[in-house]
């Protein structure tokens, strides 16, 4: 109930902001460029989120059930990426890797850096959710003579995934906001287009207000999407339990 109120406020806020923006002269002039930037922002967000989810599951499961050397590797990855700034990681991949003979496209650097960064945080979310599954479930899989991988895949993860959805929603929004950083490694995303237009037109108020509303809209889409996903997953799990 409370969250619904907040969403209503956000919608009203963005709507009024949108109206205010629409009444600015020259709104039409900025829109195509900013939409182009928003496309890049959405692209990086989607690819980054996909990589983050893959890395998080890989790192968390390796950390919990992998053999010792792999476990250390997973812990190092998680602590390294959680312990340093996203911007430093981005710059490191962009400026330092070429010295080791690995030159990546800026877009690849952006997706890899953000995906690895958020993946490290996500690994802890996955670990927490798996830990939160009651012990009895593990014991039951042993009683049923399931292998550990099968138990994880068919019993533990389906229950853990439901608990992870809300924190993943937060992480996806974090990743979406972090995409603004990629403007600093020459990718022409929303933030880059905004700075560029600002330098040529000096119409600072209009440009940055539109950009804020754009980001707000993307965040709202993620929030609504994750809510829907949570509902679907909860229904699926309830059906599974009823059988």
């Amino acid at each position: 109930m409370h969250t619904r109120g907040i969403i209503a406020v956000c919608i009203i806020l963005s709507f009024t902001a949108g109206l205010a923006v629409a009444s600015f002269a020259g709104f039409r002039e900025f829109l195509p460029g900013l939409l182009e930037g928003a496309r890049i922002t959405v692209l990086i967000t989607v690819l980054g989120c996909a990589l983050a989810v893959a890395m998080a599951f890989l790192a968390a499961i390796t950390r919990m059930y992998g053999p010792a050397p792999l476990r250390w590797l997973a812990i190092t990855y998680i602590e390294l990426f959680r312990g340093t700034s996203a911007l430093v990681q981005l710059f490191w991949l962009f400026f330092v890797l070429p010295h080791f003979g690995i030159t990546l496209e800026p877009l690849t650097v952006a997706v890899v850096a953000l995906g690895l960064n958020v993946g490290a945080y996500g690994a802890e979310v996955v670990r927490g959710a798996i830990d939160a599954v009651p012990r009895g479930q593990w014991e039951a899989t042993i009683a049923l003579n399931m292998s550990r991988m099968a138990a994880l895949k068919r019993v533990i993860l389906p229950q853990a995934v439901l608990a992870m959805i809300p924190p993943w929603g937060n992480l996806f929004i974090e990743l979406m906001k972090a995409t603004a950083l990629v403007s600093l490694i020459t990718i022409s995303d929303l933030a880059f287009k905004a700075s560029q237009m600002n330098q040529t037109t000096y119409r600072t108020v209009e440009i940055f207000t539109i950009v804020l509303v754009f980001y707000l809209a993307i965040a709202a889409v993620i929030t609504v999407g994750m809510r829907a996903l949570e509902r679907v997953a909860a229904r699926g799990l309830a059906r599974g339990r009823a059988q």
Binding site: G5, I6, V9, C10, I12, L13, E79, L80, R82, G83, T84, S85, A86, L87, V88, Q89, F91, W92, F95, V96, H99, F100, I173, M176, K177, A178, T179, A180, L181, S183, L184, A191, A194, S195, N198, T204, V205, F208, T209, V211, L212, Y215, L216, A219, A220, T223
Partner: protein
Amino acid sequence: MFWDWAYTWEIVPVLAEASIVTIEATVAGFTLAAVVGLLLAILRMSPRTWVSLPTAGLVEFIRSTPLLIQIFFIYFVLPEFGITLGALTAGILALGLHYGSYCSEVYRAGLENIPRGQWEASIALNLSPYHTFRDVIIPQAVPPVVPALGNYFVALFKETPLLSAIAVLELMQTAKILGSETFRYTEPITLVGLYFLVFSLVAAALVRRLEYWLKVRWR
């Protein structure tokens, strides 16, 4: 040669000097965030809808837009309204507001955990709202959430490199300048990464100690 030790020793003092600005921004930003967060949390709990709803909207707005854009907004847009700030001040303000909105959620969790009886007792004793908050509610609500605030302190610290985007001469900006002077980015950026890693690990350990200490002290 991948790593040049002579160059490394040459740039360490320069980076150490820049790290003072990073720490300044962290401490000032977090002090602001702690105060702003408490104010926002209290306003958001107000029984008057015309106070609580806009506050909730503002918090959600700040939380769901990128810090980088907010830094740009404060640095480039406020001057249009006649408020011109230095780069570092603008950066600290942006960090403080952004993390203040995060901290307000933390404070809110603490405030909502106060038993109803405490509020009722304050009314029974005819305490003003100011005294209720200062002497009854806040002393009980804040200590349990200090570890969560500590986590945001570490998070804010790790976000300070964003200030390099408005040319604050903190660690990242200095490393970039050093890199562009010599075309050797490996050493400066790796050192900056190492600095953040060491500091966050130490800070995380301190937060854990604090959590333990509070558990013992506030039982």
